[in-house]
Amino acid sequence: MSHSFDDISQQLRRRHRKSARLKWISMGALGLAGLFLVLFFADMLNKGLPAFQQAYINTEVNYTEEAATDARQAIAEDLVPIVSRTEIREIPKEIRNDEDLIGTSEQKWLLVNGEVDQYLKGNRNKLNEEEREAIDERVESGQVELAFNRTFFTQGDSKTSERAGILAAVVGTVMTMIVTLAISFPIGVMTAVYLEEFAPDNRLTQAIEININNLAAIPSILFGLLGLAIFINFFGVPRSSPLAGGMTLALMTLPVIIISTRAALRSVPDSIRHAAFGVGCSRWQVVRDHVLPLAMPGIMTGSIIGLAQAMGETAPLIIVGMVAFIPDVGASFTEAATVMPAQIFTWSGEPEHAFVEKTAGGILVLLAVLISLNAFAVLLRKKFERRW
């Protein structure tokens, strides 16, 4: 078989074309992944941003004797179907708290119910034609308007979409994270220090190392089963409490902190240790006074990333019951609470269309917190990173 020069150069061109194709395909794959990300964020912003706006109605509230028992008497009759039910129910409470209010009246911005709110934002709603026209008139006269949604950031959960807020979940998240960090940070750092600086290279050490790597890969829901069986059923930790949730998440975060702390300790050069030993420090003194301070930025970065991971975790918390309905904002370690992801999960299960917007709004808040935590970790690393 003989090949002419043309044959070979043609073959070569074909091969080079094929080679170039691989480059474009692989570039396309990366672009596709980036496209997913962009689409995802666009979709979330599109769905979630309206949640930060809420329709309010300006009306006169009459604090009369009748209003103390039948709250609907307090506002004009034709407004009753427009104003939020939960908002009306607050009026008798206000009167009970302050008897002097009776007989007075006040011009106030009240929450409008979810259907009207959805109509104003151009979403699907149950209003009929007549009601829509009535609302349009009020909007034109400036009595009804969309404004920044304070309620979303100052209230707990509610069964009515217009009054549902994320504050109770934020407080619950903070409490849970305090428990998680208080347990996993010291134990994680101690474990890492032991494995890197103290442990002899024997079977036990190897077992611990394999075990930690394995723990990092166990599905998170199994940690929930552990929390339910051991912490709640066996030790009697109160169900749904930040304590139970925090302890469960602590075990989950532990491997992350251990692995990143070990990496940070390993990056401290041995010459530092040798110098410290040389001037007569004991092993613990070397670690405490020299290695740990130098490794601290790395340890902090790893812990913040672990914390962000724990903050977004839902499955184990559902198993330990942290999907409770929490209307009041309260900070307690042993009472039922909910966390941001669990709140998002609860809202996503509500049938009303207005809750889709709340869910996406909650997601935006959660993503904002996570992104700023991660950005903080990256900044910390950039600022204190040291090349030896």
Binding site: A20, L37, P219, L222, L225, G312, T314
Partner: protein, 416 residues
């Protein structure tokens, strides 16, 4: 309330004893030293040793007592327990102060205590694994006492039915069938769809980043991809249920196919997006650590860059790539929120991904969030499912670790 106050008093008493130990110990050591004797350790170290010998045994006694009360159900009054540990603390204080002598190695003693404390912290991770195993196995065993293991593994009908009535004393729980095959079929279907999305995209991205991309693109693209892994799964679940599922239904409708809104494709695709970074970052590391001499050899023989990658680099990196895919798979199998929110609740044994089907993790969540008695067969079935899930993911992880170790030994790479 009573107990809380007692514990508070105990803690403050212990704190006082500790302070006392510190200052008296230091003063004594300083006195010995100023009397002209040379000592093995610094006064502060003697002081810390005194503190440790005061507080350590006392806390140990308290902890052991509390554990005995909880585990063995022994009824020790809290008051006596705390009083006993205070007595131990006082004894420890006396011993600790007596040890402040010139020929006592206080620093080494402290070192030993700290070493023990660190080692016991390291053991906690072992306890966690055992805790998971123990909690799952013990509940799973009581489930298998009610329903046969064989039926659980091979049965094709999952219908807990009225098993919750049986535990409440009504009904006999007959008719409840726990055949897990449909659940595992659903799980593997969704996992397969996820891998179908994630492996090509992840692997090709890794190839681009390690072989083609300029340094600038690399430093941007890698963290951006990592964002995909950092998004909480509950958010992905919402995305799958609200945005992706209707798209799938519409697309299927366009081709004249009927799709359920809880179809398996939507959670599968979104899960695939989630595990792209797991696969791409590990594959990237592996491809990077394939020795450059292999590439140069191949190029020197006249292979094009594409042929080098396809015929030399990828085969060499294959164990690492497979291990990355296995890790991604174990992630996908254990993933919960995406399937809870976007997949169906109905156990359905079918090969059509457009139908609704449920997974193991969905049933675990459903069984444990219902209002059944804890001892009912349905609740316990969650632990049996958890046991199988644990076994499967553990095996996948171990195989993956072994593969990567083989790769590492073959090319003597140390940073993997």
């Amino acid at each position: 309330m009573q107990t809380n106050q007692l514990v508070l008093i105990f803690c403050s008493a212990l704190l006082l004893l500790g302070l006392l130990a510190f200052y008296v110990g230091r003063a004594k050591a300083a006195r010995v030293r100023s009397a002209g004797g040379s000592m093995f350790a610094q006064p502060d170290q003697y002081a810390w040793f005194a503190v440790l010998s005061t507080a350590g045994p006392a806390i140990l006694v308290g902890a052991v007592g509390a554990f005995v009360m909880l585990l063995l159900g022994a009824d020790i009054p809290t008051f006596y327990l705390l009083a006993a540990s205070l007595v131990v603390a006082a004894a420890g204080l006396v011993v600790g102060l007596a040890q402040v002598r010139p020929n006592f190695h206080a620093r080494q003693a402290i070192e030993r205590v700290i070493r023990m404390a660190l080692a016991s912290a390291a053991l906690i991770s072992i306890f966690t694994t055992f805790g998971i195993l123990f909690s799952i196995i013990s509940e799973a065993v009581s489930f298998f006492q009610m329903h046969s293991f064989w039926e659980f593994i091979t049965g094709t009908t999952w219908s807990p039915g009225d098993s919750f009535l049986a535990s409440a004393g009504r009904g006999d729980g007959e008719g409840a069938q726990f055949g897990s095959v449909p659940l595992f079929a659903g799980t593997f279907m969704i996992t397969a769809i996820a891998l179908f999305v994630a492996v090509p995209v992840g692997l090709l991205s890794a190839i681009y980043m390690s072989e083609y991309a300029p340094q600038k693109v690399r430093t941007v693209a890698k963290p951006v991809l990592e964002i995909l892994a950092g998004i909480p799964t509950v958010v992905y679940g919402f995305f799958a249920a609200i945005t992706v599922a209707p798209i799938i239904v519409n697309v299927a409708g366009f081709f004249g196919l009927e799709a359920s809104y809880n179809n398996a494709v939507a959670p599968g695709v979104v899960m695939g997006i989630m595990i792209i970074p797991f696969i791409s970052s590990l594959s990237d590391d592996v491809i990077n650590s394939v020795p450059d001499t292999m590439r140069q050899g191949s190029l020197a023989l006249g292979m094009t860059k594409g042929e080098t990658i396809r015929d030399v680099v990828i085969p060499a990196a294959l164990p690492g790539i497979i291990s990355a895919a296995l890790l991604g798979m174990s992630r996908a199998l254990g993933e919960t929120m995406i399937v809870v929110m976007a997949a169906g609740m109905r156990p359905n044994l079918t090969a059509n991904p457009l139908e609704d089907m449920t997974t193991v993790t969905v049933r675990i969540v459903a069984a444990l969030t219902g209002d059944q008695e804890f001892e009912s067969a349905e609740t316990l079935s969650a632990f049996a499912l958890g046991l199988v899930l644990f076994a499967v993911t553990l095996t996948l992880n171990l195989v993956s670790v072994l593969m990567i170790r083989r790769f590492r030994e073959k090319y003597r790479v140390n940073n993997l």
